[in-house]
Symmetry: C2
């Protein structure tokens, strides 16, 4: 397939780098300031070298990428809330041109799911977005396989940064601020960690899971959210005395969607360590399925994107 | 889709019972002695009641089912080794009639994979067999998604009976014979447990995983197999003193396929308890993925079969 890759952060870069191995051709590649476009396939290595040198993947305007020849648009610009600009417009442009769109950007799927499905209904193209929930973990394709109507609940550890912090606080008895600083040094937490530690990122994933399981109707404001910034080391110590620990759990049930710190037994399946993610699905006929792995990272998330591209063809 | 369900054991029964909920029609249903056939859809409840009453699902000859009108054949007769009779012939009949075949029967996929793929290449129908490896766990569709060529290894706990026995031996310090008798009382082990406790069942699943990952060439005789019948309680005690336990692990790597008891840390992801199964995939770009859940059971395995049927359409 010919891919138009929108976004040149970790995920967009990895998608562009790995596309060839999957038998695809990148015909357009855009960052926020520029684009490289070639109907025969751009030189990905040259575009990335150019990005590293001068901060731009190419010499064209970003909008050129939307007008390029492609079969599937890969939306990998940063997640934004509310109107999910500009990711939503990119996907709209693809669907209105009867092209497919594969999203790694959570914004449009969490915040404007019903709008996306409406655009898809009027298009010959379709959308997929496995990469938006827990990176490489095949959560959405497993829900697809079981049938969304037969998944009665989903829960899990959906944010690696928050989980890394809770794991370190518990194992070493350190307080939140100390571990956050360490996580920032390691590159596990961003300079502004708000999105991760206040539960917003996990809540967006819950909104997406809720949209898939319940057939739409959810956005971030429908998710009850509590982050980990107020979890004291003493709570983790008390939990440990009882053989338990604290995890930031996102949950979707028939009652709705919520994210918050929860007590779980130390050996519980949900008590994954460090930056690992886990998604647990309750199914009507097949019991509980547990899916765990790396929930973030460029190549990991790109793997989910490229699996989606393969499912389109 | 119109389904011809071959086999009326736990899995065949569940497939027939759940087919309607998935929007499919059972046009043929056969056990080893009889068949019920109706191009408009058989009465599944009546067939199962008849089976319970007189030991036959219908009044027709089993061969009638192969001549029925159907889009996909579900092969759920008991797993047999070597020529994989009669499952292989059922699948052959479907493919030669340009129909699809979905297998829950491990025999043909483990023992005659290359023959199956050859028949498929000459047919308008295709084969799927998610249910043959670890029941409800989406192991094969996840390998499909990642791309078999990018899965560098697979390992896991692939037999619930053996895992139940090892778990009980470890937690209660009981010997093999004692726990086996208990498992038989609970219906977790069969009267003749050879297939499970000697590792044959896990080895068949390894052969299937190896065929998928390496593109064919494997059968049971290519898998190095050791069961759990010689694991003494003392080995489990020694392991426990060291924070470890014993699990029957099946493994597929570039060096081949093997099954045997292995020491694993007690809190290790692979150390699932009771009848649970787990499949761990090592991938080239997405790290390690862990998939766990119920590896057996009628409705659980039927869920995998019916997911496969949905992927055909």
């Amino acid at each position: 397939m010919r891919l138009a890759v929108m976004g040149a952060g970790d995920v967009g870069r990895s998608v562009a780098e790995l596309a060839g191995e999957y038998g695809h051709t990148v015909t357009a590649f855009a960052d926020s300031a520029s684009a490289a476009v070639n109907p025969d396939g751009i030189d990905v290595d040259a575009a990335l070298a150019h990005k590293d040198d001068v901060g731009r993947v190419g010499e064209g305007d970003p909008a050129d990428a939307l007008g390029a020849e492609y079969d599937a648009l890969v939306e990998a610009t940063p997640t934004t809330l509310g109107d999910a600009h500009p990711g939503f417009e990119h996907v709209r442009a693809a669907l209105e041109a009867d092209r497919h769109a594969v999203l790694a950007n959570k914004g449009p799927v969490a915040e404007r799911y019903d709008d996306l499905r409406e655009l898809e209904a009027d298009s010959d193209g379709s959308i997929r977005f496995e990469a938006t929930v827990a990176g490489a973990i095949p959560a959405l394709s497993t829900i697809d396989g079981v049938g969304a109507e037969r998944v009665t609940a989903a829960r899990g550890v959906l944010n690696g940064t928050a989980n890394f912090i809770l794991t370190r606080m518990a194992t070493d008895g350190l307080d939140y601020e100390h571990v956050l600083a360490e996580a920032q040094d390691l590159g596990v937490a961003e300079a502004d960690p708000t999105f991760d530690v206040e539960g917003t990122d996990a809540a967006l994933k819950c909104a997406i899971l809720a949209n898939v399981i319940h057939g739409g109707g959810y956005s971030l404001e429908d998710v009850d959210v509590e982050g980990i910034t107020d979890v004291p080391p003493s709570a983790l110590e008390l939990a440990a005395e009882d053989g338990r620990t604290v995890r930031l759990i996102g949950e979707v049930t028939e009652d709705g969607a919520r994210v918050g710190p929860r007590l779980v037994p130390e050996n519980h399946t949900l008590a994954v360590s460090g930056t690992m993610n886990i998604v647990q699905l309750e199914t009507e006929h097949a019991g509980r399925l547990n899916l765990s792995g790396r929930g973030a990272g460029g190549p990991e998330t790109a793997t989910a994107v490229l699996s989606d591209v393969d499912r389109l063809s």
